[in-house]
């Protein structure tokens, strides 16, 4: 049984799909249970995901098969067991929010700020959700597919 299938068997309430893609283990998770699942995966001795490698989002606006516009990806790694798991979680456009994982891993702090800055997905419960790469008065979220890459905005200095 692959790692993704093991995760699905153990957390069948929250995992909707488990598959292996080119050697990467991937599970798809319901949005409302993401935080509980992440913290269980960290604590569970069978999985022991102590390291949050990355959090990023993909905007599937121009992708025909995808009904849900955004997909937040978590890249978890276990140093002790040397295995990696990708968690995917759909986030709809009109309700672009998901629970924050900062209380599980402090590493999530900046990654989630970056996703908010670039994609405009709100992380509920994040202690300091503000822009990180762009400046505060920047309008819009540049990595969304409907943001033209050549749009110019006035550069305004920091507020404080």
């Amino acid at each position: 049984m692959t790692l993704a299938e093991q995760v699905k068997a153990k957390f069948f309430n929250s995992v909707t799909e488990a598959y292996t893609d080119k050697g990467d283990e991937v599970v798809r998770v319901k949005r409302e249970s993401i935080k509980a699942l992440l913290s269980s995966l960290k604590k569970d001795p069978d999985f022991d995901f102590d390291l949050l490698m990355d959090v990023f989002a993909v905007d599937y606006l121009h992708w025909e098969e995808k009904e849900i516009r955004f997909e937040v990806n978590y890249n978890l790694f276990s140093l002790k067991k040397n295995h990696r798991l990708f968690i995917k979680c759909g986030v709809p456009e009109l309700d672009a929010q998901i629970d924050s994982a900062v209380s599980v891993w402090p590493a999530a702090d900046w990654y989630e700020r970056e996703v908010w800055d670039m994609m405009g997905i709100v992380f509920n419960g994040h202690p300091n959700l503000k822009r990180i790469l762009m400046y505060e008065s920047f309008q819009g979220h540049p990595l969304r597919k409907d943001y033209p890459y050549n749009r110019r905005q006035p550069i305004i200095g920091p507020v404080n």
Partner: protein, 450 residues
């Protein structure tokens, strides 16, 4: 007689002070701002602000064909651009499901390790310079220069090298590479010995670094830190050992590990990693399969430029058998060196020039790969590939929608989580300790700010 004032109770009222360090500060590289709250000289609060060098790497990658993103990856980590090049190519090759030739893999390992040494040299040298040891910096830059000259002889550029291609490499190694590389390795070893003599027992250097900027193993893992920074705390994670890619499993090297997670341990780990990388370079050169470079089957050689002219006139008969006399390094995919560094897969690899000019299949193949609207088209899907960058795990996650442009490229920059943990490192230290701690983080603005 009043009450005697105890040493801890200052008779002068003291308040905390807010101090901005950077972005216009020489030690902050002009791109990071640390807002510190000071009590006397002790840092009691800190907030790090980044984004001053944001260049929209991920957005720009989506705008052009797959190979167009390679120059952008050069500019992510500009002291070890080769590792970035190779990491991106490996991610795209994973979607395509192709393998590169053995010689190509060895060259990739070789160039990655040269880059790792240049990166660590810059980091340690700059840290020492910021502590006043300017000699060390000059010595290390001298050593880096040997390696940069080597890189220049292979790729044609010192910094913006754009050497890797999806499915291979731009060109093969030059003919005299082996001797040059061994001399550079020898010279670099000499410099490292000098640096060790200068710094390892240097009272000022050691006192400034020991027990400063300490982070525990648990905290480092919780912050998602990888690379030499994590290894200085005692964890052994190294992508090259944990999930060997390319030909790292055939090479013998050790992963140096620290104990205390302070600045001094990070210095030791980096110094030892350079020694290991030099070992890897020597092994890769020794084991590298020899490919035919510029073989002329029947002694007949036609210069590439003349071949182009002839082909324009339609006189192409017999061109297939003729080898082009072109420099095997910088004239791109020249002649016989082509098949030893490039994948045989026609979906990704540009044909050798004698095919392009010599027959219709080669010309069509070339056309399909370079023309607008055609190009390299990986199947729909996504892939993540992690390599060991100089700062830690450098991962590229590429999503393909089946067209000739990447739908989404995500880079996991290794110094991003380290800079996120910076407040934890500097709170409680003296203000003067910010500079060496920040130096040992080896913050690289290009990858930090994307």
């Amino acid at each position: 007689m009043g009450k005697p004032v105890s040493r801890n109770e200052s008779p002068i009222e003291s308040r905390s002070m807010l101090l901005n360090v950077g972005p216009q500060h020489p030690a902050m590289h002009g791109i990071v701002r640390i807002i510190t709250r000071l009590q006397g000289e002790t840092v009691i609060g800190a907030e790090v602000e980044i984004g001053y060098l944001h260049r929209a790497f991920e957005k720009m990658c989506e705008q052009g064909p797959y190979n167009n993103a390679i120059p952008y990856t050069d500019r992510l980590n500009y002291v070890s651009p080769l590792i970035n090049n190779i990491g991106y190519c490996l991610a795209v090759e994973k979607i395509l499901g192709i393998n590169t030739t053995e010689r190509c893999q060895y060259i990739r390992v070789l160039m990655s390790e040269i880059s790792r040494v240049t990166d660590h040299l810059t980091c340690v040298g700059a840290t020492a310079m910021e502590l006043g040891a300017f000699t060390v910096f000059l010595y290390m830059i001298k050593a880096r220069e040997f390696l940069y000259e080597l890189i220049e002889s292979v790729t044609g550029a010192r910094l913006t090298i754009s050497y890797a291609r999806i499915g291979g490499l731009k060109a093969d190694l030059p003919e005299d590479f082996e001797e040059k590389a061994l001399i550079a390795v020898k010279e670099t070893r000499k410099v490292l010995k000098e640096i060790e003599d200068l710094l390892d027992k240097n009272r000022i250097f050691v006192d400034r670094l020991r027990d400063v900027g300490t982070i525990s193993k648990e905290d480092a893992i919780a912050y998602g830190i990888t690379g030499p920074f994590l290894r200085s705390t005692g964890a052994t994670y190294d992508v090259r050992k944990a999930n060997p890619y390319l030909v790292y499993d055939r090479l013998d090297f050790d992963v140096p590990v620290g104990e205390h997670g302070d600045n001094l341990d990070r210095y030791y780990v980096r110094m030892e990693e350079m020694q290991q990388s030099l070992r890897l370079i020597e092994q890769a050169i020794a084991q590298m399969p020899k490919g035919p470079i510029l073989v002329t089957p029947d002694g007949k050689v036609v210069p590439a430029a003349m071949m182009v002219d002839e082909a324009k006139m339609g006189r192409v008969q017999g061109f297939q058998a003729v080898k082009v006399e072109a420099d095997p390094t910088l004239d791109g995919s020249a002649g016989a060196s082509h098949d030893v560094v490039y994948s045989e897969n026609k979906r990704v690899a540009l044909p050798a020039k004698e095919d392009t000019y010599g027959n219709i299949e080669g010309l069509m193949n070339h056309f399909k790969l370079v023309m607008h609207g055609h190009g390299l088209r990986p199947p729909k899907g996504e892939a993540y590939f992690a390599v060991e960058g100089a700062n830690g795990e450098l991962g590229f996650h590429v999503t393909s929608d089946g067209t000739d442009r990447p739908y989404r490229v995500r880079v996991r920059p290794p110094c991003f989580p380290i800079v996120a943990a910076l407040p934890k490192l500097i709170i409680g230290e003296m203000i003067g300790d910010i500079v060496p701690t920040f130096g040992s983080v080896n913050m690289i603005g290009g990858e930090l700010d994307h």
